[in-house]
């Protein structure tokens, strides 16, 4: 029963080292491997083929959070991994349980988030026979994991889980999966899982070659128009502090990618915030005109680069990445530096002969900040603007507040109008762009950081996709504030239809959505409605103060669109500030 498992343990530190009972089954060995790896939480849903594993969990101190849908389990585990930096764990049964996890696993894979998925499987003798609730889970997930394991033996299943755990966390993080046939978990064994080690064929580089670092440092010092592009890898490598020191010492403007939000404080004068399709005008101008880019932990996603032919075309590129396959994959790297971002930044810091002479360039960047401020219209009589809600909320909360989102316009406003200063406070679905990520991600984030405030900005479409997760937030009494930026549409699609499909709004308007405040109350959460500028602060304050999950149904201007915008495959420097610009580019 999840209620049993989710009761917080008393005084964890005070707990004496208890002798562990020896394992007697494969399932116990699985749980032991998780315990050895330091797992605190598992997100999952019960089922026939995974039952032996749950039975072994009954005797463990690991907390289990029963989710309302397995997609939520994989997203919650993902967010848990993003916030803590350690792998989040999710469980599902075979067949439909496993396939429901797939979206979250693919999402974690695209964002290099550490996740372990353990799935039940039909007994070995039925595998391949289309048995009840059988599916080829390893086959389905192989392309979206670092590795998917089929556990073949009760004696080695614990090792498989240990290895999967280590692998998810090693080098470039990502998801791993272990498929657990029921006879293997039920089977007797006395073999304890070995220590958590990555497979021998998996090598992680630590430091970059000194000579290469020296050359890169010289190129950067020579630059007239240098920028740092900080990606999600900076956060994953816990290199945010190293980045801050580096940028401040050498006075180089910093742009983040969207997953890199929080790696550099957005209130710092060197910050140009984030670049890409809906990034700031100034970041995109700087990207477009730089002559030397120090890119760290980014895979140059097309939402960032626009068309690669116009991406930073004057720039020599120094690329730091732990994954050699990212070097010159999308954008050619003149100076590839393979290694852990924190280590390599330290090497580069020491190797810099001097700071680049870039006063003029920094002034230019400041001019762009003045020319293209992040702005929106707020005449009093207009319907409520979503940007205002985000901005107010941001001002009211502490710096370490964690923001989760769904996918769509609301996600962009939440990233544009909230001021991020700390790593691991921006939790969103980037590479896969998964609507429905927000509700369960906020659950994972809150459990990962119970002392931090958690807010989830969601769209009405995204919220509806995983709204059943509210029941989990209520049961676990999680203090999360959900804000639905409700435009009665899948707004991002509608924006594209208006911009690029002559306003033919096929299947994008949702005037039949429920009243989210009432829906929240039905789940046992607190519900609020926002319709005008009058009570924005009070409502946010009330929702924040409510000790449990609350939902603010914010009826925003349905006509509001997201700008600036670089159209798909476009040129970053040619972003549109409004609809008229779209016709010009």
């Amino acid at each position: 029963m999840s209620e049993r498992a989710s009761v917080p343990k008393e005084e964890e530190e005070a707990e004496p080292e208890t002798e562990q009972e020896p394992v007697t089954t494969g399932a116990q060995s699985v749980i032991r491997a998780l315990e050895n790896a330091g797992t605190d939480y598992v997100f999952g849903v019960q089922g026939g083929a995974i039952m032996p594993v749950y039975d072994a969990l009954y005797d463990s101190d690991i907390n289990h959070v029963t989710m309302a849908h397995e997609q939520g389990a994989s997203h919650a585990a993902d967010a848990y991994g993003v916030v803590t930096g350690d792998p989040g764990v999710c469980f599902a049964t075979s067949g439909p349980g496993a396939t429901n996890l797939v979206t979250g696993i693919a999402d974690a894979n695209m964002d290099s988030d550490p996740v372990i998925a353990l799935t039940g499987q039909v007994p070995t003798e039925f595998v391949g026979n289309d048995a009840f609730q059988e599916t080829d889970t390893v086959g389905i997930t192989q392309p979206i994991t670092k590795e998917s394991y089929f556990a073949a033996d009760s004696d080695t299943v614990g090792d498989d889980v240990s290895e999967a755990f280590a692998l998810a966390d090693a080098g470039r993080q990502g998801p791993t999966l272990v498929d657990l046939p029921k006879d293997v978990t039920q089977g007797e064994t006395e073999v304890e899982p070995g220590s958590s080690e990555t497979p021998e064929t998996y090598e992680v580089p630590e430091e970059a070659d000194d000579e290469n670092v020296q050359e890169a440092a010289e190129a950067l010092a020579e630059a007239d128009r240098p920028v740092i592009l900080s990606g999600g890898g900076v956060i994953k490598a816990d290199a945010s502090n190293a980045l801050r020191e580096f940028a401040k010492e050498y006075e180089i403007p910093v742009i983040t990618t969207m997953p890199g939000i929080g790696s550099f404080p957005e209130d710092h004068e060197l910050s140009l915030e984030w670049a890409g399709m809906h990034g700031t005008g100034y970041a995109n101008m700087a990207i477009s005109n730089t002559d030397c880019m120090l890119a760290i932990g980014t895979r140059f996603d097309d939402r960032l680069t626009g068309g690669v032919d116009s991406f930073a075309p004057d720039a020599e590129v120094i690329h730091i990445d732990i994954d050699p396959a990212e070097i010159s994959k999308n954008v050619y790297a003149d100076y590839p530096l393979i290694g852990d971002a924190r280590e390599v930044l330290r090497q580069l810091f020491d190797a810099m002969p001097r700071a680049p002479d870039a006063d003029e360039w920094r002034d230019q960047c400041q001019t762009w900040k003045d020319e293209y401020p992040m702005d929106y219209d707020t005449p009093d009589d207009e319907p409520l603007k979503p940007q205002y809600v985000v901005e107010q909320f941001s001002e009211m909360t502490p710096d370490d507040t964690i923001v989760c989102t769904g996918v769509g316009q609301h996600q962009m406003w939440a990233s544009q109008f909230w001021e991020y200063t700390e790593p691991r406070t921006w939790v969103s679905s980037h590479g896969l762009g998964t609507m429905g990520y927000g509700v369960p991600a906020a659950i994972g984030a809150k459990l990962a950081a119970p002392d931090q405030e958690v807010v989830c900005f969601d769209g009405d479409g995204s919220f509806l996709m995983t709204v059943q997760g509210l029941s989990v937030a209520v049961r676990e009494q999680l203090d999360i504030t959900y804000v639905v930026l409700n435009n009665e549409a899948v707004g991002m699609v509608r924006q594209w239809q208006d911009g690029f499909y002559e306003g033919r709004r096929m299947a994008s308007e949702y005037p039949w959505i429920p009243q989210f405040d009432k829906l929240a109350e039905a789940f046992g959460a607190r519900g609020f409605t926002l319709e005008s500028y009058d009570n924005v602060e009070e409502t946010i304050q009330e929702a924040r103060e409510y000790d449990g999950p609350s939902v603010i149904d914010a009826h925003i201007d349905p006509g509001e669109n997201v700008f600036p915008m670089v159209p798909s495959g476009g040129d970053n420097g040619q972003f549109a500030l409004n609809e008229d610009h779209l016709d010009m580019i």
Partner: protein, 195 residues
């Protein structure tokens, strides 16, 4: 107060090609596809072949051929993969292969590597002597014969096999099977240890 419109903004001078490489506007550089022979040692266990082939199909690398078989070590198998791609694609293929957990090592074999392919060609059995004569020309031999058909085995380079098949067409080819290339580096170098 919005800043300058798109066409009035500061513009960079440079340009990249679609492969993300900065180009000299005078001399456009594009990489033409070339053939590469990749050789990989992989863990000998279920699912490895599908993992490798899925990697290639997902990334839209065009595989010319892929062969796999055991090595002297029971735990490893060796794959020979022929791809035809522009340079950056070949580089990606190697790096992506290396990332797969069951892959022990990957190397691109040099142009002069020993490359062999096997083909079995089944032709009509009406003129067995003529078939034998053509087989001889390509160092092939008949490995099966019936009243209606002769099956000939040929090994060699892809070009040689292409040529042989062309020659056999005069005998009404009924069926062909080709293995794709297997290849080894010349000299003492092996995949396991660099010499």
């Amino acid at each position: 107060m919005p800043g300058p419109a798109p066409d009035e903004r500061m513009r960079p001078k440079g340009r990249r090609n679609t492969q993300g490489i900065r180009v000299d506007p005078e001399a456009e550089v594009t990489h033409e596809p070339r053939q590469a022979v990749l050789s990989a040692l992989v863990k000998h266990r279920p699912g490895v072949l599908s993992e490798v082939s899925a990697l290639f199909s997902r990334r839209q690398f065009n595989i010319e051929s892929l062969t796999v078989g055991p090595t002297v070590d029971d735990d490893t198998a060796r794959m020979t993969i022929l791809i035809e791609e522009p340079e950056p694609g070949i580089d990606q293929a190697k790096k992506q292969l290396r990332k797969l957990v069951p892959v022990v090592s990957v190397r691109e074999l040099e142009g002069e590597a020993v490359r062999r392919e096997l083909a079995l060609v089944k032709v009509s059995g009406e003129k067995p002597d003529d078939v034998n004569a053509v087989a001889d020309m390509y160092d092939g031999q008949a490995v099966d014969a019936s009243t209606d058909s002769v099956t000939v085995e040929i090994t060699g380079s892809k070009q040689k096999i292409d040529a042989a098949i062309e020659a056999f067409k005069q005998f009404d080819v009924q069926e062909i099977v080709r293995t794709g290339a297997a290849a080894l580096e010349r000299g003492p170098k092996t995949l396991e240890k660099d010499v």
